[in-house]
């Protein structure tokens, strides 16, 4: 029984982990149809922000929950202003440009901090006991953060003026513009928010995965598969795709091993995209956010 509870927790965490690493990418993709290949590096920068500031004496909670999203959000706005805004509507060009950006960021961080970085910060929450099993309390905390983050994103999109403007711009940029909305500012803010969410995720994951300049590469593929499988509805897409893919991955990893777990995730994604080329939310949950 204890095993099943611990296992269920693992599955939920596997799903939450996917939501966390994909949400920032989903916001940027869903809103602006920009595929940000530097997404992994935004996560990496969030991680570095936490590690550097914690080693410099800052409280780890402040570093993770406030500083990391702030720093990466600002970087996101700068990137949007000097690079992305010239490339709207040119998907292949944005792919290339953001890929170049990711290489620059990896090179920059390697030059400044070196190829290996001492990330001697431990998760600030200890282990929890479930019967005979122990599990990481920090993972439980991450599940909680993911839920709160999803609720916040939902409320922001649904009930605030900014959310309304964002949704309007997303559905028809020209009409929104005709109604007096500054679409270019909306895009800048959206990109910044997407980057900030990525920074938050990277910061939260730093204590349990560590940071390296090249760590982004381990996230980017999964984040992409999740977002593309989910389709353009930001929340419903990310949540449904994460549940499906994360669930399959966790269960198969437990039953057979991580290799089959990873294979299973990819197979499900391929079959899914064959059946629903526009992602889950183009077929199901169509009117959702």
């Amino acid at each position: 029984m204890d095993l099943y509870i611990a296992l269920a927790l693992q599955i939920v965490y596997g799903i939450a982990n996917l939501v966390l690493i994909s949400l920032g990418l989903a916001i940027i993709f869903g809103m602006m149809r920009v595929i940000n290949l530097a997404h992994g590096e935004f996560l990496m920068l969030g991680g570095y922000t936490v590690v550097i500031s914690t080693n410099a004496g800052l409280n780890i909670w402040l570093a993770m929950l406030i500083l990391a999203p702030l720093v990466v959000g600002i970087i996101g706005v700068i990137v949007e202003r000097v690079m992305i805004r010239f490339l709207y509507g040119r998907m292949v060009d944005t792919l290339l440009a953001t890929w170049g950006l990711s290489l620059v960021l990896i090179g920059l961080v390697t030059t400044i901090f070196g190829a290996q970085t001492a990330t001697t910060i431990s998760p600030p929450i200890g282990a929890i006991q479930i019967g005979d099993f122990t599990s990481s309390g920090y993972e439980l905390f991450l599940i909680g953060v993911t839920i709160i983050l999803s609720i916040l994103a939902y409320c922001a999109l649904k009930y605030t003026r900014i959310g309304l403007i964002a949704r309007g711009t997303m559905q028809g940029a020209e009409i929104a513009s005709a109604l007096g909305v500054s679409t270019s500012r909306t895009y800048a803010i959206t990109f910044g928010v997407g980057a900030a969410v990525s920074g938050l995720a990277g910061g939260l994951l730093a204590p349990i995965t560590g940071v390296l300049p090249s760590i982004g590469a381990t996230y980017i593929a999964k984040a992409f598969i999740t977002v593309i499988s989910g389709g353009t509805a930001i929340l419903a897409g990310t949540l449904s795709a994460s549940t499906l893919l994360g669930g399959v991955n966790s269960v198969l990893s437990y039953l057979t091993g991580p290799t089959i777990g990873e294979v299973g995730l990819l197979v499900v994604a391929i079959v899914l995209l064959r059946l629903m080329p526009q992602g889950i939310t183009a077929r199901l949950f169509r009117r959702s956010l």
């Binding site: 693992q10 596997g14 431990s122 990481s136 560590g210 381990t218 437990y254």
Partner: protein, 418 residues
């Protein structure tokens, strides 16, 4: 004047001779310096291993030149950075052999990179040193593998850890050739010691979530974990294992933990108690090693210098072994140096005495078992002059000098060991 076939041929032959002569003169002039080419990753995913190796190689060449060079000639070091890409390895190896006319090439971190360039260097008859710990099994008279192999490390650590912790072992390994073969060796040695492997799991190199595995380990209740996890993403395992409180109940042994300086990347609390075996630790308590560590630090930014591990030190010792062989041979001629190395050549390096084992072209070296304590290794047990008995089971270059084979390419079973 009419051009006959004969005069035409004479003419072309003379032209060819004139054209060819600058090449011959060029080669004579270049022979003033002895050329050592190093191909090691200084960027890309493998740079955490490559950079300290590069620093150690530079130090070795500087030391040789400071002592007057070899045979009265200066050693010139040429470095290439293959950027963690196999394609560049083959390209630079060809360049080193064909264009630079290197007298020796020291190159390669992963087995994949070694196997990519080994045929090239064989074909160009360019002497090749591979200074990385690896799974064993290369049998090639042109190649010298100076790193430790499973017989040096795994075979020593398995009994040590089982005596300390118990007989039930749970193996975690990186899912590629090296991890698979190390897992085979661990299973074999555990069986030889009368223990039991409860499970073996392989992880693709980009896995960062080890949650399901940590639950499985708890359900299986082993006495110890054997980790052959590799690379930056896999460091997550040790963190998540500690975050789940497991590091207090089920201990870990490894022959991969520490070569990426993992023990310094994680907090003391997360790493304490892990047992490792290598043919070198920075903490080895000899005057020679202490002097070496001090000099290495002074050259590489003092406190900011990378921690020294087997990979870096063996890069230094590999160059020194080659240099000693050149001195013994009195020549840089490839066959003379190979014969001198087989004589065998022996040096006293930071890791202690190290000699070439002539039948396999691997190394007879000291092995150390150490435990992590507060981000440092504490040496627990020392084994002197250990032979590469794994490769010796399949390879005998004395009896069959023409062998060119990587025996463990398809696992131990295919090599007839099990």
């Amino acid at each position: 004047m009419s051009t006959t076939r004969r005069t035409f041929l004479k003419g072309t032959a003379a032209t060819a001779a004139v054209l060819a002569s600058p090449a011959i003169i060029g080669k004579a002039a270049a022979a003033d310096k002895i050329k050592l080419v190093s191909i090691l990753d200084q960027s890309g995913g493998l740079d955490i291993y490559g950079k300290p190796m590069v620093a150690a190689t530079e130090m070795a060449v500087d030391d040789i030149n400071a002592a007057g060079g070899l045979l009265g000639r200066e050693v010139e070091l040429k470095m290439y950075d293959p950027q963690s890409s196999i394609q560049y390895y083959t390209q630079y190896a060809t360049q080193a052999a064909a264009s630079d006319r290197a007298d020796v090439v020291h190159a390669g971190i992963t087995s994949a990179s070694r196997e990519a360039i080994r045929p090239t260097l064989d074909r160009f008859k360019t002497l090749y040193f591979y200074n990385t710990q690896y799974e064993g099994g290369v049998c090639d008279r042109n190649v010298f593998c100076t790193g430790s192999t499973p017989a040096h490390t795994v075979e020593k650590l398995v009994p040590h850890a089982m005596k300390k912790w118990g007989k039930k072992v749970y193996i975690l390994a990186a899912d590629y050739n090296y991890g698979q073969i190390i897992a085979d060796w661990v299973e074999k040695f555990v069986r030889d010691e009368g223990g039991e492997t409860v499970a073996t799991e392989f992880f693709p190199l980009d896995v960062t979530n080890f949650g399901p595995t940590i639950q499985k380990i708890q359900a299986a209740k082993p006495d110890m974990i054997w980790s052959a996890l590799v690379g930056g993403a896999h460091i997550s395992f040790y963190r998540q294992y500690a975050a789940a409180g497991m590091h207090k109940s089920i201990p870990i042994a490894s022959t991969t933990y520490g070569v990426g300086n993992e023990h310094q990347l994680m907090s003391a609390e997360e790493g304490n108690g892990i047992l490792c075996a290598y043919s070198y630790f920075e903490e080895i308590d000899t005057p020679e090693n202490k002097a070496f560590v001090e000099r290495f630090r002074a050259r590489n930014g003092g406190a900011a210098a990378p921690a020294l591990n087997e990979l870096a030190v063996r890069s230094y010792e590999g160059v020194m072994l080659w240099a000693q062989a050149v001195r013994n041979a009195g020549s840089v001629d490839r066959m003379k140096v190979i014969e001198a190395l087989e004589a065998p050549t022996m040096i006293d390096g930071p890791s202690g005495a190290i000699a070439i084992e002539p039948t396999t072209h691997h190394a007879t070296l000291n092995t150390y078992i150490a435990q992590v304590k507060d981000q440092k290794f504490q040496v627990q047990e020392t084994f002197l002059a250990q032979q590469p008995t794994d490769t010796m089971q399949v390879c005998d270059l004395k009896a069959n000098p023409d062998t060119v084979k990587f025996y463990f390419e398809n696992g131990l079973e295919a090599a007839g060991i099990k």
